[in-house]
Structure formats: structure tokens, C-alpha cells
């Protein structure tokens, strides 16, 4: 399942009912935000414009120091909470460390579905994101990134559908929502 950028982790110890969905990328500012918005039905248009994306309250809004912060985004129609997470430049290694903590005996809690959002957007969107968040060229970088993401929206929707499918499959083992 990890080859598709989706990984379901069952915490060690007593498992609670429910499921948590975490979209992760570099800084939790662009790709994961748009994926979470699609997942939660906040970006309903089939072909959203760059302006629709910029209008998302949390688009291009995080700072570098907050990389590693887990942001709660809402509860989806299945009743499961959705989060976004930035893991920085070495995200695969960082995810390995984060996931290994969940497998410490007695950790408990509900299963967590990690979905990597960054590969779903093109290099232009990444460049725009870096210009805005890293190099301070906010207005140019933000609009470049939003326009590039709008062009990749079909790919993002396809990816979110795959995540929803994985979520439904995982929900068979975890029928009761965490929050409702």
C-alpha cells in the first residue's frame, strides 16, 4: 500500500475504534491542504480556479518553524478526523520515525492512515510553495503555486479517491467513528 503513498499504521496495544487520516507533505501549506480540502468537501468545483484555492483559509499559511505540527482540519462524512502534517525535506525517514513510535508496546489509540500528498502536485507548484514559504516571495509564490495546483486538480482528486477507498477498507475493521 505504501507504493501508492498511502500507509495504514495500527498502533501497538489496545486499539480504539475509529480511524485518523493524515495527509503529509513538506510544510503542510499547499499539497496536503488542498487534499484535505477535497477530502472534506471544501473544494467542490470539479475544476477549481487558482482563486478558489487561494481562498482556502489555510492555504500557504504555515511557517517553517511549524513543520512537524499536526493540524486538525475537520471530520469527514464517515466521521473520521482529517489532519495535515509537514515532515520537512527528509519526509520518508521522518515518517519512519513517527510511525515507529506508534508501534511502541502499549501506545494504543486508533489506526492512522498516512497519505503522502506532495508527489501529486508538479514541480511548478513546489517551486511556488518554496518561493512563498521559504524565500519570502509570498504574493508571487502563492499565486504560482495555486495556479499550478489548479492544473493538477484532477490528479489530486484521483489521489483523494484512493485515500477514501483505503479509508473505507480500513473502516471495516474500525466501524465506530472517533468523533461524531
Amino acid at each position: 500500500m505504501f507504493s501508492s503513498g498511502i500507509r495504514l499504521i495500527y498502533p501497538s496495544g489496545p486499539t480504539e475504534a475509529g480511524l485518523r487520516v493524515v495527509y503529509y507533505c513538506y510544510g503542510s501549506a499547499h499539497s496536503s491542504i488542498v487534499c484535505a480540502a477535497i477530502h472534506l468537501g471544501r473544494l467542490k468545483e470539479e475544476r477549481p480556479s487558482a482563486r478558489d484555492i487561494i481562498r482556502l483559509a489555510d492555504f500557504d499559511a504555515t511557517d517553517t518553524w511549524s513543520i512537524g505540527t499536526l493540524f486538525f482540519k475537520g471530520v469527514d462524512d464517515l466521521g473520521y478526523p482529517v489532519y495535515t502534517l509537514g515532515l520537512g525535506p527528509r519526509r520518508h525517514r521522518a515518517l519512519q520515525s513517527v510511525a515507529s513510535l506508534l508501534t511502541v508496546p502499549g501506545f494504543g489509540g486508533s489506526p492512522i492512515l498516512f497519505a503522502e500528498a506532495l508527489p501529486q502536485i508538479g514541480w511548478l507548484a513546489r517551486l511556488g510553495g518554496a518561493m512563498s514559504r521559504r524565500y519570502g516571495q509570498v504574493s508571487f509564490g502563492r499565486s504560482l503555486s495555486a495556479r499550478a495546483i489548479a492544473r493538477h486538480c484532477a490528479d489530486l482528486r484521483r489521489f483523494v479517491r484512493t485515500v477514501r477507498e483505503a479509508e473505507r477498507r480500513a473502516a471495516i475493521d474500525a466501524p465506530t467513528p472517533v468523533l461524531s
Partner: protein
Amino acid sequence: MPREDRRQENRRDERPRRITFRLFYDHGVGLGALLTAALDVGRLPADRPWEEQAVRDLLIGRRPSAAVSVMEGPRGCAYWCGLGASAPVVVRAWRYFLQFSLFPQETAVFLPVPTPGARRWIRAERAWRRRPEGADLAAREAIRYVQFWHQAHLSVWPD
């Protein structure tokens, strides 16, 4: 037992219990974190010089890892891992995920272990990572920098 002694004994019982979940990490491959965890659980002595053979025995069969590994000893168990440059990001994320777990936040500590910047230490870490014989070099260097691990072990308190 005289009354004063009994009072002191009671006071000792009132002391907070030991932090239950201790995870040592370093900014390298995890060798420093492993040694400090071994010190913490009593696999390596805190009150006398370390023997190279004992350190080598500890390292053989263990591989450096970004994943959390357990170290068990006479004083319980502790965890260790090497986070490299991702350490600040991972530690912040750990705290958030801990919120979902059965461990209360106050019973878990993530303890940074400083590692020497010397080239020979980095070479020792690399040797340990690459081949099993690297444990010899790593054990020699671990003893050379033993004050680092004792210092890190002194800082086991809630952050």
C-alpha cells in the same frame, strides 16, 4: 525503626514515580542515543569505567535506525533512535501523536543526546552503520566520549 528514619522513608515514598516512557534520540545515526539508553537501563555501569568488550557486545547485533528501538536492562526499558537532521520535526510530531495514545504526556520524555562533532566519531558511526566489524571502532570511540552519555543521562526530566 526510629521515628525520624520512618519519616524519611515515608518522604521517599512520596517522591514522584520514575518517568515511564523514556526515548533517547540523537542527531546522528543513533549510537549516542543507544549508549545513553543502555546507561539508563543499567546495561552499562554508571559508577565505574566502561569496558570496551561490554560496549562491543552491546553494539553487535544492533543496527542504527531512524525507527524507535527498545533497550532492556536491569532498571527497566528505554527507547532509542537516530533522527539525523529531522530531529526537531520528528520530536514535534511525536508530541502530537502522543496525544492520541494511552501514555499521558507527562509520563513520556524525548531526550536529546548530544554527539561529538569530531571526525573520528562520525567515522565510527558510519563504520557501525555499514558493517558488523564497525562495532569495534564504535566501542572504542564510545568510551573516549563517555562523558557525553553520562551528561545526557543527567538530563532525564520532563521537558
